[in-house]
């Protein structure tokens, strides 16, 4: 087929290319550039090749050890909050009213934590959980449970997990609620006709219909929690010791505290790749979860 070629069309693409270049490609390349060099300040750089990357992957080195242990903390944190927020969000969504003025009231109430800026959330919880003047800290200590997030790593973890659950469960709940609202009444009616139990309704109607929004919720919550910085920085500052030092906090320490731009750049790239890889795995697994597999006649067996 003969098609006329007109290279002037490329001109129309130029603005997009320029914007993407300035917003993404050039900054990213700067990071790539830093990651293969070392600097001692004064804007002097020395070639270091793959040195930082080798160190990053070597747990016995200082950099490698720090990155590996904070990576472990990140994964643990994301795992814990997903394990709490997803079931809790589903439960909240199921309990939310379906009609009347209560819907609007609940939605506004649920959206409130989402509207609070991150550092304010951190500050709220920092004060809220203090043993001397904070309502939560004071009450828990009065109940005879020793609780001090400044000195006790477990208390620190409990605090930031509780904070994240408070801040973000609404998001999961609202997404699930949207999924639930999209189920036509006929499904519930048919289930009643078929004599389905409450659990069967959840398992065979509500959960499958929520699957897509749940994928989105899990991905969003994973990425956000994996990049968490502000709240633990405000509440615990990464402590006690290094117990709540996440990758992002480590990164800022390296880049701005020690001005090790090369190490920090190498670490950002690795950080980015980890997030991408985990998201890809999540997405692939969840979308393929119940894709039709060729199977033998299951009739008699099931």
């Amino acid at each position: 087929m003969d098609r006329p070629y007109d290279n002037r069309a490329w001109l129309l693409v130029l603005p997009v290319l320029a914007i993407v270049a300035f917003s993404a490609v050039i900054p990213l390349m700067t990071v790539v550039n830093y990651s293969v060099q070392d600097t001692f300040g004064n804007n002097q750089f020395f070639w270091n090749g793959a040195g930082w990357f080798k160190e990053l992957l070597d747990p016995s080195s200082d950099l490698g050890g720090r990155v590996l242990s904070s990576l472990g903390r990140n994964l643990a944190f994301s795992g814990i909050i997903l394990a709490i927020e997803v079931p809790l969000g589903i439960a909240v969504a199921l309990a939310m009213p379906r009609e009347g003025w209560k819907v609007a009231a609940t939605l506004v109430l649920m959206a409130m934590p989402l509207l609070v800026p991150w550092n304010v959330v951190g500050t709220i919880w920092q004060v809220f959980a203090r043993g001397d003047i904070g309502l939560l800290g004071y009450a828990v200590n009065k109940l005879g449970i020793p609780y001090n997030y400044v000195s006790d790593p477990i208390a620190a973890w409990v605090t930031i997990v509780a904070m994240d659950v408070w801040h973000w469960t609404s998001l999961v709940a609202l997404l699930c609620y949207a999924g639930l609202k999209s189920i036509p009444d006929a499904y519930y009616q048919a289930a009643r006709i078929d004599g389905a139990s409450r659990w069967a309704v959840f398992r065979f109607i509500q959960l499958p219909k929520m699957r897509r929004v749940l994928i989105i919720a899990v991905l969003l919550r994973f990425m956000d929690s994996f990049m968490i910085y502000t709240e633990p920085f405000v509440v615990t500052g990464g402590g006690p010791g290094n117990s709540t030092t996440f990758l992002s906090i480590e990164l800022v320490k390296l880049a701005l505290g020690q001005f090790d731009l090369g190490k920090a750049a190498a670490m950002s790239i690795a950080y980015n790749l980890v997030i991408l890889a985990v998201c890809w795995v999540f997405y692939t697994v969840m979308t393929n979860l119940d894709v039709e597999r060729p199977q033998a006649e299951t009739g008699a067996a099931s």
């Binding site: 048919a190 009643r192 199977q295």
Partner: protein
């Protein structure tokens, strides 16, 4: 298996209903006999689905009672009523296979595995779903999904009745015929009461042995298809059933004479129409024939439609539109012609209700 009785049944979606307009379903008393094939026919919004949901227990009526074989079930939940219902749009459980979908209502009721298997295979065979039993329901076409929905309605062996709420809306026309005949065959075979809601008169007349016509929340007539055709109890039935619908023109009736647009029509029976009501006479186009000018009632011819099998004249009788058949061999019709009405098929209506005359 059950006889379903509705006694003084009425329903309003508003909590404080007083005027008739508040009622989606106006008071009715009706009995559905065991094993009947019923069609519930009426336009959208006439209360068909409300009535169906009351019978199945998805809706508790605000007035009156529902009884199955004399047992009051008005406040009994759907699960405990033993009734099956198929909805307008296919409802399938996506994550289950076709087999599991069909087995679901049986397993929920604790039926034993072997019996479930036999029953599922039987129904799947009837609906020609056997080859896809092992497939996930998600990827199937709308047709196949609706067959599964039908299957889940038919699979329970002991139901009091199966209710169909416009189940063939999403099905492609060719398959529609096939499925409808299948339902009819199943009805004969299973001896179960079936109530089939539709707004399509062909569907109703071919499926049912009793058609219940609803209009504005009321049952206006329940009867066999030929009764509905020959003796519509309400002008609405006349309009709604038949294509084109019945001719209804305002008239004054005294004894056995009717005056329409200045013309006198002789009626076979005598009527005493109640004063102060809107009196009309109704004749189906099938019982009205066009004749050369000078015979019968003088009419003005607007146009002649050739329907292939027959010709239909669109006429004016005075100011009123009228449709009538054109006999073969009558050609060269001018602007003016005559109209002959078959005397036995002229009905007199007062405020829409058919009056019975005296001989």
């Amino acid at each position: 298996m059950a006889r379903i009785e509705l006694t003084d049944l009425a329903h309003s979606y508003k909590p404080e209903a007083s005027v008739p307009a508040d009622f989606a379903l106006k008071p009715m008393t009706l009995t559905w006999r065991q094993g009947g094939a019923y069609a519930l026919l009426g336009p959208s919004g006439c209360g068909k689905t409300t009535l169906l949901n009351i019978i199945s227990g998805l809706l508790i009526p605000s007035h009156g009672r529902v009884a199955f074989d004399g047992r009051d079930v008005t406040h009994l939940s759907t699960e405990r009523r033993n009734i099956a219902q198929v909805f307008q749009f296919p409802v399938v459980y996506d994550t289950m296979t076709v087999y599991e979908n069909l087995a679901f209502p049986l397993r929920n009721r604790g039926m034993e595995g072997k019996a479930v298997d036999a029953r599922v295979r039987e129904i799947a065979g009837l609906l020609e779903l056997t080859s896809s039993l092992g497939r996930k329901a998600r990827g199937l076409t709308a047709d196949a999904k609706q067959k599964i929905s039908l299957g889940r309605g038919l699979v329970r062996p002991d139901v009091a009745a199966i209710l169909f709420d416009e189940p063939l809306t999403v099905i492609d026309p060719a398959l529609k015929w096939e499925l409808r005949s299948k339902l009819k065959a199943l009805h004969r075979q299973l001896d179960v009461t079936m109530i089939y809601v539709t707004h399509d008169q062909t569907e109703a007349l071919t499926f049912a042995d009793t058609v219940v016509v609803m209009h504005d929340g009321r049952v206006v007539q329940a009867g066999q298809p030929d009764e509905l055709f020959e003796r519509p109890a309400h002008t609405f039935v006349g309009y709604f059933i038949g294509s084109p619908g019945m001719n209804v023109v305002p008239a004054t009736v005294e004894g056995n004479r009717a005056q329409v647009a200045g013309q006198t029509i002789d009626l076979p029976l005598s009527y005493d129409p109640p004063a102060g009501q809107r009196i009309e006479i109704g004749v189906r186009p099938e019982f009205a024939t066009l004749a050369p000018a000078g015979e019968g009632l003088p009419v003005r011819v607007e146009r002649i439609d050739d329907l292939g099998r027959a010709r239909l004249a669109r006429l004016r009788l005075g100011d009123h539109a009228f449709a009538a058949g054109v006999p073969d061999g009558l050609d060269g019709i001018g602007d003016h012609a005559g109209l002959i009405l078959q005397p036995g098929h002229i009905h007199v209506y007062a405020d829409g209700q058919r009056l019975s005359g005296r001989a």
